[in-house]
Symmetry: C2
Subunit: 293 residues, 2 copies
């Protein structure tokens, strides 16, 4: 028995004009839908250049509510093509309260759900802690007509806890809108290690949870970084199904959601988790009480 889902990933560069960027995303949606995609994943904050390359209050002007202009355009596209779209919005939730939010549009144009990025990075060129309030909604998947989607965002991809909590809540697929790139001053061997690590840690989530994973990353040179693209889709054994390069691209992959059960019967990690011995995962570090819990 198979249950095949065609997934489309849209990676593109972003320039200074938000309308043009959103058109790039929607052109990709159209192309993916025409090629048969039923679920389309966009890159992180695809409407704008990555705003966190500097800390400046003016960048909050780029934020918008949900529902808002971007979510409405995405909803219209979802309805027009009859596809589920996972988009990404710099969300203004209230004055002084902003999030990096993934939004899932159902094929009828309704909002299936949102996910507010839980893990917020902050390092040179990625000053996200200035802009994005950490999500307060936890790690809940979003139910759609194509399955229960474990939507996470970028920095979340480095945290096995996030993937596991989505799996435990019944996610059938993990999806990561992403914006990650090379710092220009890093030597080529370091750049290669970073790109490989980025892919491997996410393939590791696929394996540890017996779930397919799709990650969509932007491309192009911006003040923060040279975004490295390489969007990919892998199956529940971490096996690569499709990988993009570092240019604008619509990537398609056929994912068999039924294979999750086949793989988990062979590798029943959920059966063997030692839930009696994991309580220290809630600590920052096991120093003060190390060894005794």
């Amino acid at each position: 028995m198979t249950r095949t889902l065609t997934v489309g990933l849209v990676q593109h560069p972003c320039g200074p004009d938000p309308a043009s960027n959103l058109n790039s995303s929607l052109d990709g949606v159209a192309e993916a839908a025409a090629a048969g995609a039923e679920l389309i994943l966009l890159q992180e904050l695809h409407r704008g250049r990555y705003p966190c390359f500097e800390e400046h209050p003016a960048h909050f002007d780029e934020a918008e509510p949900i529902p808002g202009p971007t979510s409405k355009r995405l909803a219209q596209a979802a309805a027009d093509y009859g596809v589920v779209i996972v988009g990404s919005v710099f969300e203004r939730r209230a004055a002084g309260l902003y999030h990096n939010t993934a939004i899932v549009l159902e094929r009828d144009g309704s909002i299936a759900g949102t996910y507010r990025k839980m893990h917020i990075p902050d390092d040179p060129g990625y000053y996200e802690k200035f802009y994005f309030t950490p999500g307060d909604g936890g790690f809940d998947p979003i139910d759609t007509s194509v399955g229960r989607l474990g939507v996470l965002v970028c920095w979340d991809q480095w945290f096995p806890e996030a993937a596991r909590l989505m799996a435990l809540a019944g996610a059938e697929l993990l999806l990561y809108p992403t914006a990650i790139g090379f710092a220009p001053e890093e030597p080529p061997d370091e750049q290669a290690r970073q790109l490989e690590a980025w892919q491997i840690v996410q393939r590791g989530h696929a394996i540890a949870n017996g779930l397919p994973v799709a990650a969509c990353n932007r491309v192009g040179d911006e003040p923060a970084a040279r975004f490295w693209g390489h969007s990919f889709v892998c199956g529940p054994q971490g096996e690569l199904l499709a990988t993009a390069g570092d240019q604008q691209q619509v990537l398609l992959a056929r994912v068999d959601l039924a294979r999750v059960e086949t793989v988990r019967r062979m590798w029943p990690f959920l059966r063997d988790r030692r839930i009696d011995a994991y309580s220290a995962l809630k600590y920052r570090f096991r120093d003060t009480l190390r060894g005794r819990f």
Copy 2:
């Protein structure tokens, strides 16, 4: 600043004679020590053929106490060569109470500590739940003269929780004695996916925790499987430092333990974990209360 540690991994086949198998391990220890290894990792249950290919009470005769014959031979070797050895013992703890136990010998021949395998597999050819009581000691690293070692065993390698708990307790290196192989009836493409997944999930632990990882796996045909070898060592970005083939081999790698701090400053995942939102990791599945915790 660097803090280099030379690690040796000893992978070999095991036949029906325990004394001969232990000699294979100790020959490998001698070879690794002569080549400069300060820390030597042996494969899982290296004194015997993998006993769990069938469920038969007679195999419990292969178990031994700690201290016992195997631990004493390993201790002598550790003292003779002045190295730290991570071995693996089918441990008889009491009548009817057996464990799959890793043992760490200090370079003076003393026992630095033991780790009783926490996650116990059970699938065709690997009937471990019949033999091995799940460890009750939790995930505590073992302090040695070469560093604080996060020793885990085989099936543990598929569980991000185990690696994370070791990292949170200050482990400087993750070490996995392993016995994993191909079922003969599996087609080549499935075998390739399994081997790659096995390596990637462990490299993922290295990346997620910013720690080097070493895994030592047996080789050779036995009733349970064709053990696939491919022992490897990777650094804290998951970058491969050394990889073995599928034959008897002593694998050496130089690991820079100081690079852990360099990498973690750039990728400060421990800083950004959402410990306020991880409580559901202690549940088997988030079904009855899904979405509300």
